[in-house]
Amino acid sequence: MIHTLALTAGLVLLWLLLSGYFLALILALGIASIVLVVWIAHRMDVVDHESHPIHMAAKGLIYFPWLMWEIVKANIDVALAIIKGKNAIAPKTMRVTASQRSDVGRVTYANSITLTPGTVTVYVDGDMFLVHALTKGSADGLGSGDMDKRVTALEGYVEHGTEGVG
């Protein structure tokens, strides 16, 4: 129920921000579209904690700025490596163990790794990620496990039947 409300609120916000008009006809069309979309989403059975991870929203406000800062630092590292040329890069493939317990947590971690330039998640098998790293700096940064811990804190795992693992 709470996920349906989150979806509806998100769609209302999206419509208002994209249109910016408050005419009766336009608003009526908006309401009709939102009802239709929510109904279709329900029929598809995709409205759940995975498509709407609202339990992560509050902690995400802390995690996201941190991730942005990490991305900026990684960008400078990779940009310098590109300018310096072939000697500055040390491409390697490494295994990383994810400590998250839910699928949403692992997806968040894997996507955070990929979003950070210099590291790309190639393959995910359970809690083992295969990561390709471009420079020594990016490999070491990932190896420190800082991001892993932060995503696990973000995930805030709670045991309730619907949260599938693996």
């Binding site: 999206l14 921000l17 994209l18 910016g20 942005m68 991305i71 900026v72 960008n75 990779v78 940009a79 590109i82 300018i83 040329g85 072939k86 890069i89 491409p91 390697k92 493939t93 490494m94 295994r95 990383v96 163990t97 400590s99 894997a110 996507n111 955070s112 990929t114 979003l115 950070t116 330039p117 210099g118 590291t119 790309v120 998640t121 190639v122 393959y123 295969l130 390709h132 471009l134 990016s138 990932l142 190896g143 420190s144 496990g145 892993d148």
Partner: protein, 120 residues
């Protein structure tokens, strides 16, 4: 005030463009497909982000800013997905990373076995 915003806006746009150019150079200069993916990552993140920042300064607190922010969020959520798909496709078609050894099943290639979490 308007002048300061104008200067900040153009500084952000020009820096963003410089990062995009570096990314493009990297796409050509780096040795294999996996390395080149990292160069594309620069364009996806800081290149797009800084150009967004510059345009946001010009837009001010308007609906345009909200739309710009949505574009940024959509790019940040979709680009790792496409990057991962590209990477998997390359691994499946048998492209191996530089200095890589072929793993038994052919899809995963591990150059330097290293368990990152064991260090922590």
């Amino acid at each position: 005030m308007e002048m300061i915003l104008y200067v900040m806006s153009w500084m952000a746009i020009i820096t963003g463009s410089v990062f995009c150019v570096i990314g493009a150079i990297g796409l050509i200069r780096l040795p294999d497909v996996y390395c080149r993916m990292h160069a594309a990552g620069i364009i996806d993140t800081v290149g797009v982000g800084l150009i967004f920042l510059g345009l946001a300064f010009q837009a001010g607190w308007t609906l345009v800013l909200a739309k710009l922010a949505m574009i940024l969020v959509f790019i940040l959520f979709t680009s790792p997905t496409s990057c991962h798909a590209l990477c998997r496709a390359a691994a499946y078609s048998g492209v191996h990373p530089m200095h890589g050894e072929q793993a038994p099943d052919g899809a995963d290639v591990v150059d330097d076995e290293e368990d990152a979490s064991s260090k922590t």
